[in-house]
């Protein structure tokens, strides 16, 4: 699961302009049968998000919005049961859920007196049956269930995956008898930055090739693939902040990472794709 930069680039190359659909994912799995599905999905999702970030602005000009809305209206005017919105999104190479949001927002602007608040829109996206127009509700729903990178359902899956891995990590810590403070406890104590776990007694992780081990004070669980973009963002927002307060620590990218990113070991940020097996704990009594 730990990929070299070259391996990663090969995968990323295949993901250019692939719509975030069920079918795309299936093809990707066939193309890289040796990689784990979760890793592939994570990479796909990250690459797609990068793509969306790059192109986001051009879909949000007023001209673009207007043209999407008109095309939607024309489409459903002809056939309300057709996949109008989804096809539109795929055609202009934009995420279906986000396209649904654009059109929904535009629709509400037209039909409500006051411009819709973000929370109203989010709530309608979460539960399209709240959308006053039945046809639009169906169209939005279809976009959301067919989008595997954006949308409330995907967000929920990602959140669940993150949570599950934290639980997994907690179990591993308990199993190894390592006492820790978790995020909630830390927050209750007023810590300003909270890794998933701070070890109350640090451990040393041994590396097969290194003479010295690495001290670990904290562990952060990341249920995603560590690519350059996300890793750098995490370094800046989280990992260095943890280091600044608690010293060296360990990041577990459960779905793997680009090998070359594991370059801050000496500085005190270690990357692993699983819980380290070779750890040394402080002995309380020395014989």
């Amino acid at each position: 699961m730990i990929l070299t930069k070259a391996q990663y680039d090969e995968i990323a190359q295949c993901l250019v302009s692939v719509p975030p659909t069920r079918q795309s994912l299936r093809k990707l799995k066939q193309r890289f049968p040796s990689q784990s599905q979760a890793t592939l999905l994570s990479i796909f999702s990250q690459e797609y998000q990068k793509h969306i970030k790059r192109t986001h602005a051009k879909h949000h000009t007023s001209e673009a919005i207007e043209s999407y809305y008109q095309r939607y209206l024309n489409g459903v005017g002809k056939n309300g049961a057709a996949s109008v919105l989804l096809e539109l999104a795929n055609e202009v190479d934009y995420a279906p859920s986000l396209m649904a949001r654009i059109v929904l927002e535009r629709f509400l602007q037209e039909h409500e007196e006051t411009p819709p608040s973000k929370s109203v829109i989010n709530s309608m996206l979460r539960d399209p049956s709240q959308i006053p127009d039945g046809v639009l509700a169906n169209q939005v729903y279809q976009c959301i269930v067919n989008d595997c990178c954006y949308g409330p359902l995907v967000d929920c899956i990602k959140h669940a995956i993150g949570y599950e891995h934290e639980v997994l990590l907690r179990d591993l810590l308990l199993e190894k008898n390592l006492s820790f403070l978790d995020e909630d406890q830390l927050r209750a104590k007023g810590y300003d930055k909270t890794p998933d776990f701070i070890l109350q007694v640090p451990i040393v992780m041994l590396c097969p090739l290194a003479v010295e081990g690495h001290i670990i004070h904290w562990i952060e669980s990341k249920a995603s693939f560590g690519d350059e973009c996300s890793h750098h963002a995490y370094l800046h927002d989280q990992f260095w902040s943890y280091w600044n307060r608690f010293g060296p620590g360990l990041v577990i990218y459960w779905y793997g990472f680009i090998q070359e990113l594991d370059c801050n070991r000496e500085r005190g940020i270690l990357l692993k794709a699983c819980f380290p097996t070779d750890i040394v704990t402080l002995c309380h009594s020395i014989a």
Binding site: S83, A160, V167, Y191
Partner: protein, 1233 residues
């Protein structure tokens, strides 16, 4: 001065009398009348004798080429008469000082241009290109100040003080420091053609002219540098040793350029073959690289033995009486003489001495290398006591020096013995990597900030600070990297966010902690404590001389710590903090930093350090003693670091490249500055330190502080008096005195070393040392109050001495370079000494209890080992603190729980509108705060319970029972006092704060999603958590939903088995719950409802033969049953079942043809039957369905369904079955209705 020396030489005056005469202004009764008469006539010259002597020796040795860096002498009086000095001669820089920094040897083409100025005293500070890199380099202090480098860079300082050759210039009155003629400001060096376009660390070419030989300061203050250019040497030799008969005049710049050209061409000739002896190339002089062989020294060839002995005796006596400013500088000079390679061939006329001149000073003192070595060995014999305290490496090199062996086998034997007796100290080098200051909730959490914003701003600032630090760590060694350019704007942006004063203090605390953490270890300070280069060389083996030489050239320059008197610098990580302060350029930050540094300095300076140990020196107390020493070392090093930064920041606004140009300006500045109170009352602290006999702690940090003062500071009355005290102290530290009431030897040596160093700092007037004497009496040190103090205890060890004064290591480097040059002996050892002490400071002194008990306790400790006291204090401190924490965790936490339940009651009884939170808080606090009184009782109990055990565990088993129980009782008392003082003052506020937090917590929790906060069941007991993960299930269900919703490929579909399996897995997951979080469960619930709707509407594409793309009814019903039971039994979040009747889901039925209503009806009935939905709830949903727009026939069917559902009786089960039985298909159902 010469007269004094001559009368000594003629034996008219005894050495002892002369030294007494120098040291003390009054005549001693021991003095012989004739001596007194001889000397009294010279009285006005008294204070100039020592500077004269030092300069004389430097000058005499000028023909010797030591291979080490030249030794500066720092003396105001120059022997040179300056009659010919042109009146308009610009004031030079500091001649003597400028030689504090050895010129770097370099064979590069660029070097020759610099060599002359270097030789003349131009100093290259940062040796080598490594320190040339962009921006402020690692070390030196004033790189940040433009132009300052100039004053270091060369020129000389004319001295108008008396000189022997011109009695008319002799003055007996104390010089007027404000007289700009006499004490010209430093740094206004005449600029060379290079100009001063930008501050540069390179030396600006100083005019090279023979005029310079006029100025004796130049030639006599310095011994010639290593890399002297041959042709320039005769310039120095032109003058007779006394400086008479110099060709006056000044050459034009044109001539100077001509000379430079010549020198450059010579260098170019030499450089291609640096290793071939220079003699072959026709040069009369050896250079360090050119000729490593030294002239052998022979005791039999010494000329004027008696005269040399006499001068050596006078010189040694001056050293012994601390009449010289810097002991180690003189030792360095002596070692240079010892290791002189060969004598410059002097002019014949010099060598032809008239017999009558031999006993006078008409002939050179050192006529040969033999003379030099003889003199050096003579002095070393007198200085054996100091030598014996040097590190093992130096002792070894000295003991193995063949010249020394040859000239004084006795001294060699003593040195060898000292070497063998010396304890080698090897300690592990600490990795200098950065460790962050850890986050401590007690001081760093939200409660310590005025607002949320301040808290979050500081959070960001901490991260930016470390980001900057890491970047510095990565990049500061890159060539071309510049601190200000790279980080300046980021630092200022960050500082700009610090608005509240409280944030400033937080940041300063972080800054100061990080400073102490990173810079306390010498690894962080940069550079090894003891020079490494020679050992590296000896390890490599001497047979590979060529390689060795190249290596030496590479290593020598950058590794040199800057000669025996390096300027104040910020090595290693300290550079980061200096540059940070400079780049931040924030007034508020500097002020807060000064406040914080001052406080910490006061705190550490006043720290109760080891008490006098009872004299039993057994092994046990030795163990303790190591700890005491370590603690002392940590405190001392911390203090020095803090004081250096305090000095840096405090004098920062006043730092400039040079003193004010006119006297008027200077006077007005002095008038202004004397109004400004000092950043820290160092005079009072120094006086206290002297009184309490803690000079060994106070003076080293004070020296660091003063070393960063600006030019004006020493002229201010306040600091003048500080300097006077220091001078007084310096004189009193006579090393040979020992015994009761005297400071320990190494303590003295440390103070002499640091003070000697301070007296060489450029901003300290050179003459201060020699001129202050008269005022010493004015500042009588108060009678020493305490009998014992730190000064009497051997708190300083060799390790600490070398850590504080790394420049002492220059002695070793000098000797080592002799070895590598002369014989290239291999072997030896590598040793690094670095303090291992980075432990936290010990317990702070506790609040003293009052009255008799306190006195008794003090008395009790007096006769116990100090470790006992520290143990008790430590235990008391910790238990007291733990007691407070315990009260917080028990009593206060209980009260908070009470508050919470009271509040809950309130909420229940009054509903949501329970009024103003502030009012609520008041009510709760008035009920609960009185309980705080229990804290004192509980606290007392806690201390009583915990302290004795801790004391017992920490004291030796063998502690007598009575001592033990007393110690326990005192610990209990102190702990209780500490805890109760805190509790009585703070417990009410603490309760208030905690209750307030609880109230806002409860009120917040009142808000959103009350339903989600139900009682949650966990896994069944034996659960092994093997259920499928919720994320996986959501993902799977999502796939089904998307398949159903389309678009889909023709071959896509779901098998009925897969659906069944999916629901089975959902059940497992819902029952395991290990990995289930509420949002995931909510989505699972929602998806399951969607799935049910799809089942009801028969919208799930099923895999199978093309004809049969639909799920069999029975299967669908089974699946719905499973779902119903999951909803009923397994979901713990509310399931949005009303979605089943949302227009969108019901609308799914509209698309199916023929429409099938029976599954929906079945589902609705089951929902009611299982109690999942109420009838009325369903009816409301159905009602609202009518409002939607449907195709006409669908509306009709929908209406029929309503009627059917509504028509059913309350006990629906039999009907349901009947209904099913009677109705084979949908049509009949509708027909019956």
């Amino acid at each position: 001065m010469a007269a004094v020396l001559e009368s000594l030489l003629r034996e008219e005056v005894s050495v002892a009398a002369a030294v007494r005469w120098i040291a003390h202004s009054t005549q001693s009764s021991e003095d012989d009348f004739g001596e007194a008469a001889a000397l009294s006539s010279l009285r006005p010259l008294r204070k100039e004798f020592v500077p004269f002597l030092l300069n004389f020796l430097r000058e005499q040795s000028s023909r010797v080429l030591p291979q080490g860096p030249p030794t500066p002498a720092k003396a105001p009086g120059s022997s040179a008469a300056l009659p010919g000095r042109p009146g308009g001669q610009p004031r030079g820089g500091r001649g003597a000082r400028s030689q504090l920094f050895p010129p770097t040897e370099s064979s590069s083409a660029a070097a020759p241009a610099e060599a002359p100025s270097a030789r003349r005293g131009g100093r290259r500070r940062g040796p080598g290109p490594a320190r040339e890199r962009g921006g402020r380099g690692p070390g030196s202090l004033e790189e940040g100040f433009s132009g300052e480098s100039l004053c270091w860079a060369g020129g000389r300082r004319p001295r108008a003080l008396g000189s022997p050759g011109s009695p008319s210039l002799m003055r007996s009155d104390p010089p007027n420091l404000s007289n700009l003629e006499e004490f010209p400001p430093v740094g206004s060096v005449p600029l060379g053609p290079a100009g001063r376009t930008k501050p540069s660390r390179r030396i600006n070419p100083t005019p090279v002219s023979e005029e310079r030989s006029l100025s004796k300061p130049k030639t006599c203050f310095t011994s010639p540098p290593i890399n002297c250019v041959p042709s320039s040497q005769p310039l120095a030799l032109n003058c007779s040793p006394w400086g008479h008969g110099l060709p006056p005049g000044c050459r034009s710049l044109q001539e100077e350029r001509e000379m430079l050209r010549k020198e450059r061409s010579k260098h170019l000739q030499q450089s291609p073959a640096p290793s071939c002896p220079t003699s072959e190339s026709g040069s009369p002089l050896p250079s360090r690289t050119g000729n490593l062989t030294a002239e052998p020294a022979n005791p039999a060839k010494v000329s004027f033995r008696q005269r040399l002995e006499l001068v050596a005796l006078v010189y040694s006596s001056c050293i012994a009486e601390n009449l010289v400013p810097n002991l180690f500088l003189e030792l360095f000079f002596v070692l240079q003489l010892l290791t002189a390679r060969r004598m410059v061939a002097a002019k014949d006329s010099d060598l032809e001495l008239s017999p009558g001149a031999l006993d006078s000073l008409e002939s050179p003192l050192f006529q040969s290398v033999h003379d030099c070595v003889f003199f050096a060995v003579q002095v070393l014999e007198h200085q054996f006591q100091v030598l014996s305290c040097l590190d093992k490496g130096t002792l070894k090199l000295l003991a193995e020096n063949e010249r020394l062996l040859c000239f004084s086998p006795a001294l060699q034997g003593r040195l060898r013995a000292a070497y063998e007796g010396s304890v080698a100290k090897v300690s592990l080098a600490m990795p200098p990597s950065v460790q962050a200051v850890s986050f401590q909730p007690e001081t760093d959490n939200r409660a310590n900030f005025s607002s949320d914003r301040a808290f979050h701003t500081f959070k960001k600032q901490r991260d930016v600070f470390y980001e900057v630090l890491r970047e510095w760590e990565d990049r500061h060694e890159e060539p071309g990297w510049d601190f200000e350019k790279g980080l300046g704007s980021r630092i200022r942006a960050m500082m700009g966010q610090l608005s509240a004063a409280c944030s400033h203090s937080h940041f300063v605390r972080l800054f100061q902690k990080q400073l102490l953490q990173m810079c306390q270890s010498p690894g962080g300070a940069g550079g090894t404590v003891l020079g490494e280069a020679p050992d590296v060389l000896s390890m490599l083996g001497a047979d590979k001389l060529g390689r060795l030489r190249r290596l030496q050239e590479r290593l020598a320059a950058p590794q040199s710590s800057g000669g025996p008197c390096p300027p104040p610098s910020f090595p290693g990580c300290q550079g980061f903090f200096r540059d940070f302060i400079l780049s931040a350029s924030s007034f508020q930050f500097n002020q807060h930093l000064m406040d914080s540094l001052s406080l910490k300095i006061r705190e550490l300076n006043g720290l109760l350090l080891p008490q006098p140990e009872p004299s039993d020196e057994d092994g046990e107390s030795d163990v303790d003693w190591q700890g005491e020493r370590r603690q002392f070392a940590v405190v001392l090093l911390s203090l020095r670091l803090l004081a250096k930064f305090l000095g840096f920041v405090a004098f920062l606004p006043y730092r400039g490249s040079e003193p004010p140009p006119t006297r008027e300006l200077q006077d007005s500045i002095l008038a202004l500055r004397s109004q400004v109170p000092p950043a820290l009352d160092v005079r009072a602290l120094l006086q206290q330190g002297l009184r309490a006999r803690r000079a060994v702690l106070t003076v080293p940090w004070l020296v660091e502080f003063l070393s960063l003062a600006d030019h004006i500071v020493p002229m201010l009355d306040y600091y003048r008096s500080v300097f006077s005290l220091l001078l007084h102290l310096h004189r009193s530290l006579v090393l040979s005195k020992a015994g009761e009431g005297e400071m320990c030897f190494l303590n003295k040596l440390l103070l002499l070393a640091v003070l000697g160093w301070l007296f060489q700092i450029p901003t300290v007037p050179e003459d201060l040392f020699f001129l202050e004497e008269g005022q010493l009496d004015a500042f009588e040190v108060d009678a020493i109050v305490s009998e014992h103090g730190l000064d009497d205890m051997p708190v300083v060890d060799q390790h600490l001495l070398y850590t504080c004064c790394p420049y002492i290591g220059e002695l070793r480097k000098l000797l080592a370079s002799w070895v590598s040059g002369s014989s290239g002996r291999s072997g030896g050892f590598v040793r690094k000494i670095t303090p291992t002490t980075t432990t936290v400071l010990g317990a702070r002194p506790p609040r003293t209890t009052q009255g008799l008990q306190a006195q008794l306790a003090q008395a009790f400790f007096h006769n116990q080992p100090p470790s006992l006291r520290r143990t008790v204090e430590f235990v008391a401190e910790r238990i007291g603190s733990n007691c407070v924490k315990h009260i917080k965790a028990t009593l206060v936490a209980d009260l908070v729980r009470q508050a919470e339940s009271l509040l809950q009651e309130q909420l229940v009884t009054q509903g949501q509108e329970c009024g103003d939170p502030a009012q609520l808080l008041e009510i709760l606090c008035s009920q609960l705060c009185p309980h705080g009184a229990q804290a004192l009782t509980q606290g007392r109990e806690f201390c009583q319970r915990k302290s004795p055990g801790a004391v017992r565990a920490l004291l030796p088993e063998e502690t007598p029972a009575a001592v033990l129980s007393s110690a326990e009782n005192i610990a209990v008392g102190l702990a209780t006092e500490k805890a109760c003082t805190w509790l009585s003052a703070n417990v009410t506020a603490l309760i208030r704060r905690e209750v307030k937090a609880a109230v806002s917590r409860v009120l917040r929790a009142q808000g959103p999603e009350p339903a989600a906060r139900g009682e949650r069941r966990g896994c069944p007991r034996a659960c092994e958590h093997h259920a499928p993960l919720p994320s996986h299930l959501i993902s799977e269900i999502k796939d089904v939903l998307s398949l159903a919703s389309g678009p889909r490929d023709p071959e896509e579909g779901v098998s009925p088995e897969h659906l069944e399996q999916l629901l089975g897995q959902l059940g497992q997951t819902l029952r395991c719950r290990q990995f289930l979080c509420p949002p995931a469960e909510q989505y699972l619930a929602k998806c399951s409802v969607e799935l049910a709707s799809l089942l009801v509407a028969d919208q799930i594409p099923v895999l199978g033969p093309p004809a049969q793309h639909r799920l069999e009814r029975g299967q669908a019903r089974r699946l719905l049953h499973v779902l119903l039971s999951l909803w009923k039994d397994d979901f713990q979040v509310p399931v949005p079942l009303q979605l089943l009747l949302s227009p969108r889901n019901v609308g799914l039925l509209a698309d199916t043809r023929p429409r099938e209503w029976d599954l929906l009806l079945f589902l609705l009935r089951e929902l009611v039957e299982k109690g999942l939905m109420g009838r009325t709830e369903i009816e409301t949903c159905l009602d609202s369905l009518r409002e939607a727009q449907w195709p006409g026939d669908f509306s009709e069917e929908l209406a029929t369904l309503f009627n059917l559902f509504l028509a059913e009786p309350q006990m629906p089960e039999p009907q349901l079955r009947a209904c099913e039985l009677v109705r084979p298909n949908r049509g009949t159902v509708l027909a019956q209705s």
